[in-house]
């Protein structure tokens, strides 16, 4: 009997040599069937090889090409307990303790196999949506409490409602896949591991608002995701799942558009400019895109994770989704553990899980063995959270109350060797590099901010320069056009407030 072996084709797994491992397995076990699945999200174990046995899939990892001969010889094909074996994959605490709704299929199936997609719950949501009118779909999404997973957390149903209410000859649906925040990779994992979930979500959204053209705006740093998406869109089209109009034309046309290395294009108005073939400069709102967006037509811009959550909501019902989470943060969030962390990866949990649980119960503390000094939550524009705050619940409101930000659900761990003054300086430098240049507080403020922090760290007129920095942060927060300039002060101020010694130099701080 032929054994089925799973070797991930996710970019993170490939980055650790998954292709070499797959080749080595093909050589060592020529009769085995190798399926290239997405990643389970236990990234510290990549490449994570799974073997199908009668007690379920058994996991081995991290496997190198050099380990394969020994593993196969030792009985990996029978699921034997060998040094790299972790037992049945589904029983591993890291996975078993998650609530995977959006990521249910990621790591389980061959991402491009439509049959596997259907066999694992795919297309059910779309099937239900096709029997509903647009308003009913919008209502379901509203009731589910789904909020924009890109970071802003705006209620998705309300956005859709606005777009649906517009009278227009053309409406657009855009998926924001410009996942530029450091410490986030959930969009990439989903697009590479279960692209049909995103496409199905987009088709449902197009039905809800009446859009006939859709775009996925993907960052160019994700070439693997681009390859997978291109093939997935083609397969979906060939299968006829986009549907047809009465005149035989396709009901929904989905295009993949590549960004060109500009972080700011993750901001929605900038992304729309970029989709029009222009410089990705931020635009003043209003009008909001749902009323006048791409090519001045009503346009919905949603994040990958937002759209990919929609099929579940339609298939299982709004209530099933809203039963997860707490307060006004309903459903689940795919959290991403990154930086100096022992067990980095993807953890999908209902909102309300504590940061401590994520960092220690899942993450296992730092990889280096040092203490955690701070965690940057919510990407480069999120504040640094010190260890005394790790008891905070992960939710939009609960985090905001503690001065932190959910963002895209990424947590970047810094150990106690990190100089937070240096990180604050970098935050300003990043804003300098990536500012679109349209508004002055961001364009000039970032440069001056960086210089001022450098002065403070050199010991030049520290108290005076701290005042200048605070004043500059006030200005950037209140007068910037978008979140780039408006939120860059978040990491800077949180670092300055909690770790002043890192800015002032320890000798100076001790003297004071």
């Amino acid at each position: 009997m032929s054994v089925t072996i799973y070797v991930p084709c996710d970019a993170a797994a490939l980055s650790m040599g998954a292709n070499d491992v797959a080749n080595a397995i093909a050589k060592a076990a020529p009769d085995a069937t190798i399926i290239r699945n997405g990643s389970r999200g236990m990234l510290w174990l990549e490449p994570l090889v799974e073997v199908e046995t009668d007690k379920g899939r058994v996991a081995y990892g991290p496997v190198t090409a050099g380990d394969v001969q020994g593993l196969v010889g030792g009985g990996m094909l029978e699921g034997k307990d060998l040094p790299l074996c972790h037992g049945p994959t589904e029983e591993m605490p890291y996975l078993a303790n998650q609530e995977r709704l959006t990521f249910a299929r990621v790591g389980v199936t061959d991402p491009l196999c439509l049959k596997a997609y259907e066999a694992n719950g795919g297309l059910v949501g779309l099937g239900k949506a096709l029997k509903m009118d647009a308003q009913a779909i919008v209502d379901q999404v509203k009731e589910s409490g789904l909020r924009g997973r890109g970071g802003a957390g705006f209620p998705t149903g309300i956005k859709w409602h606005t777009a649906l209410a517009q009278e227009a000859d053309q409406k657009y649906l855009c998926c924001n896949a410009d996942e530029g925040d450091s410490g986030t990779f959930a969009d990439r994992m989903l697009m590479e591991g279960d692209p049909y979930a995103l496409i199905e979500g987009m088709v449902i959204a197009s039905l809800a608002i009446g859009a006939s053209i859709g775009y996925i705006y993907l960052r160019s740093e994700y070439p693997h995701a681009a390859t997978t998406l291109r093939q997935a869109i083609k397969n979906w089209e060939d299968a006829g799942f986009f549907g047809w109009n009465d005149d035989g034309s396709p009901r929904f046309k989905l295009h993949l558009r590549m960004g060109a290395g500009a972080y700011i294009c993750g901001e929605e108005s900038s992304m729309l400019e970029s989709l029009e073939g222009k410089r990705g400069e931020v635009k003043v709102k209003p009008p909001i895109p749902a009323i006048s967006g791409l090519f001045d037509k009503p346009t919905i811009v949603n994040n990958v994770l937002t759209l990919a959550a929609v099929p579940y909501i339609l298939s299982e019902g709004a209530k099933a989704y809203a039963d997860f989470g707490q307060g006004r943060s309903l459903g689940t969030q795919p959290f991403q553990l990154a930086g100096d962390i022992a067990c980095g990866g993807l953890v999908e949990k209902a909102f309300g899980v504590s940061m401590y649980e994520l960092l220690y119960d899942f993450g296992g503390g730092t990889r280096s063995g040092r203490d955690i000094k701070a965690v940057q939550a919510g990407g480069p524009l999120g504040s640094f959270v010190a260890a005394s705050e790790f008891d905070m619940d992960m939710g939009y409101e609960s985090m905001a109350q503690r001065g932190a930000m959910m963002g895209h659900g990424g947590l970047v761990v810094f150990n106690d060797a990190t100089n937070m003054g240096e990180m604050a300086r970098y935050a300003m430098e990043f804003c300098e590099i990536e500012s679109c240049g349209k508004c002055t507080p961001c364009r000039i403020g970032a440069v001056r901010g960086k210089e001022t922090i450098e002065k403070i760290m050199r010991g030049e007129e520290q108290s005076k320069n701290v005042e200048v920095l605070e004043d500059l942060c006030d200005l950037m927060e209140t007068a910037s056009l978008c979140a780039m300039g408006g939120l860059t002060p978040m990491p800077v101020r949180s670092a300055l407030k909690q770790f002043p010694a890192d800015f002032m130099g320890t000798a100076k701080a001790a003297a004071e």
């Binding site: 980055s15 510290w44 990549e46 450091s182 410490g183 590549m258 553990l337 590099i433």
Partner: protein
Amino acid sequence: MATLLNTIEDAQAREICRDHGDRPQELLEILHGVQAAHGHLTDAALRTIAYSLNISRAEIHGVVSFYHDYKREKGAMQTIKICRAEACQAVGANDLIAGAERHFKTKLDEKSVAVKLEATYCLGNCALGPAIMIDEDLYGRVDLDRLKAISAAHKEQSS
């Protein structure tokens, strides 16, 4: 060389524009295509694109200079993209960059003939940093020794 707008100087760029229906809104895709074909964006290519899409060269210059991906000059034999975003910094990206600068005798983002080190801000491999990318191949947990080995392996592949 004539610089009249209606002169087609770059047949391949013209072809790529045509593939995109000469639509100005597809400028980014066209630029990606031309750069993939030529390695960088030449003056002749940009003039041809301006003519094909019926937009001004100033507009194209605005777009080309806005996005980090577009290159106006011939690149190095090998470009190593090194991530220096927060998650990679947290696990030693700056040390890796310093080591790579010494080894390849160049500076980050400096023009180079043999090996160019290019700063990039997040490759989406944040749990397995430091991360680098060469020729669209992603690598994780990269230290200087691994970087040297990967660089050499890619050189061998492309020669």
